[in-house]
Amino acid sequence: MLKSARAAWFRRLRGNRRLVVGIGIIAVFLGMAALAPYLTPYGPHQVVGRPYSPPSLQHWLGTDNLGADIMSQIIYGSRVSLMVGFAVAVVATLLGTTVGLLAGFYRGPADEGLMRITDVFLILPSLPLAIILAAYLGPSETTIIEVLAVTSWPLVARVVRSQTLSLRERPFTDAARVIGAGNRRIMFRVIIPNLLTLIAANAVLTITAAVAGEAGLDFIGLGNPSVVSWGTMLYWAETYALFNGAWWWIVAPGICICLVGLGAVLISVSIENLFNPRLRGR
């Protein structure tokens, strides 16, 4: 039984082109991040060529203002950017799901309280918050992760709460109560399994927002400029690239951010097909 279920699962996977493309894109970048030293002979900060040289066979994406290879920066930068993306997604999803689940399930004063807190965080503007935190904690990638996580979790909480409220009223939840299931069992065996699709889809989208957000915060200087990430690349590129015609310096990280976003979105919209066998081959 297990074997045929797995085989059917793979069949579904293959038939779902969006999902495959999405996973493919993300896999490429994950591979890039993981295998960075093997993919490029140069270090990201290593001066290896003439400054501002355009893309060539030797330097696929040209060089920056100091003569370091931009392709290597992209490759090594993917590590930081993706790490931030995933870290934010994990924290925001865990925190948001817990809050949303508890609020939606228990309702009453717990719901009120949790939702008020959520609302406060929801309206917190990320930029001023980032600036303030950076002033206190010093500009670094960790600060960025914290800021992004703090501003991303409320949306997850709201969405999860909505879905929890709806799941609570479904007949199969009543049925679980009638056979004697207590709150814990209902939460873990009924509500959460039916939330998984939503959580997964949201988590993946959070990655997109986080990668882009990281780039944005780096760009305005709240990240650690000596760390190489796609965002810090744009930070340096802003000052140096434009007046020196080094368009490749700007385009490269920008495209990477977009591609990761695209991959994540493709996965997110097709994830339901993976978990929900009723919609197959769409």
């Binding site: 007949p171 009638v178 299931a181």
Partner: protein, 326 residues
């Protein structure tokens, strides 16, 4: 099967009130179940018949502790179920089970058949040994007419409506309950499948000496399954009697309306009038006196005064009406 006159379940002056917002500021409260008293005899199958809005589903939910009553009580074997210790409450869940109307919604889409039937046994720690538990699950599936080999690993979306209701029955029986509350268990199934499920339920009832409370709006189904029928209207029971007696000699005008509405019964002299929207239970205003009087063709002044009492006007036949038929 012998039917004692012992009362297994009693509802006493039970009221369930729902509050709905009207407009922005105001609220309106409706008594879905209105000061209702009922005694269910051990071993019988009692039908609760009525239109939507009659309160039959709410009553059944109050009995299985899914909806809390606003006043009054539910007593199981004499014990007040809403004033129990948590261990008695859990025990209550063993003794009283429910089958729901929607076969597509009452099963968790994420649970396998095996898990669904096993879960009650796990929760109540009835069988701790895994192998013995699996055997019991197979037994239960066979009892409801399913082949364990074929269905054990399946998920709800892979089953037909009839199969899903059978799973619900298997799950309910896993705890060897005394009372089974069924809320419209066959109304969402094709007519050709209904009888199969009803016969299964009758068989299980006989085999395990179950008492059944059967909620339905279909009189034919009620007659087939139930020994006694209670007709509900707007939160109250308006008539109750032995099934055959009720259908052959209805005493309450509402019961008669229900019977006459069954397709194929051309009422003598009835014209195809009533194109206009007849007042149904949808109107939520409180009605003075007998709640049926706006629709009753025999309504008189007395009916608009005080609510009629629920009295035994013939042996075994109770009705709440000032002017019972015939």
């Amino acid at each position: 099967m012998s039917q004692g006159s012992e009362t297994i379940l009693e509802a006493r002056d039970l009221t369930v009130t729902f509050v709905t917002p009207v407009g922005v500021m105001r609220h309106r409260s409706i008594n879905a179940v209105d000061n209702l008293s009922l005694k269910v005899r051990r071993g019988e199958s009692l039908g609760l018949v009525g239109e939507s809005g009659s309160g039959k589903t709410t009553l059944s939910r109050a009995i299985v502790k899914l909806t809390r009553p606003s006043s009054g009580g539910v007593y199981f074997n004499g014990e007040d179920v809403y004033r129990q210790s948590s261990s008695s409450s859990k025990e209550y869940r063993r003794r009283v089970q429910m089958i729901f109307q929607d076969p597509y919604e009452s099963l968790n889409p994420r649970s396998s058949v095996k898990y669904m039937v096993e879960e009650p046994i796990i929760i109540h720690k009835i069988i701790k040994d895994r192998r013995r538990r699996e055997e019991k699950v197979s037994e239960l599936l066979q009892l409801v007419g399913l082949n364990p080999e074929t269905v054990l690993a399946k998920y709800p979306h892979e089953l037909s409506g009839g199969e899903r209701q059978r799973i619900s029955l298997a799950r309910a029986l896993a705890l060897s309950p005394e009372l089974l509350v069924a809320d419209e268990p066959v109304s969402m199934l094709d007519v050709s499948i209904r009888i199969g499920i009803l016969n299964l339920m009758l068989d299980l009832k006989r085999r395990f000496n179950l008492t059944c409370l059967f909620v339905t709006h279909d009189l034919g189904v009620a007659r087939y399954f139930c020994d006694r029928i209670a007709v509900m209207y707007r939160g109250k029971i308006v008539e109750m009697a032995d099934s055959e007696q009720l259908l052959r000699h209805p005493l309450h005008p509402y019961t008669k309306l229900l019977i006459d509405s069954v397709p194929g019964r051309s009422v003598k002299g009835a014209e195809d009038s009533a194109v206009s929207e007849v007042a149904t239970t949808a109107t939520m205003d409180v009605i003075a006196g007998c709640s049926f009087n706006p629709r009753c063709p025999y309504a008189q002044e007395t009916c608009r005064g005080q609510t009629p009492e629920f009295l035994e006007v013939e042996p075994g036949h109770l009705v709440a009406c000032y002017f019972p038929l015939k």
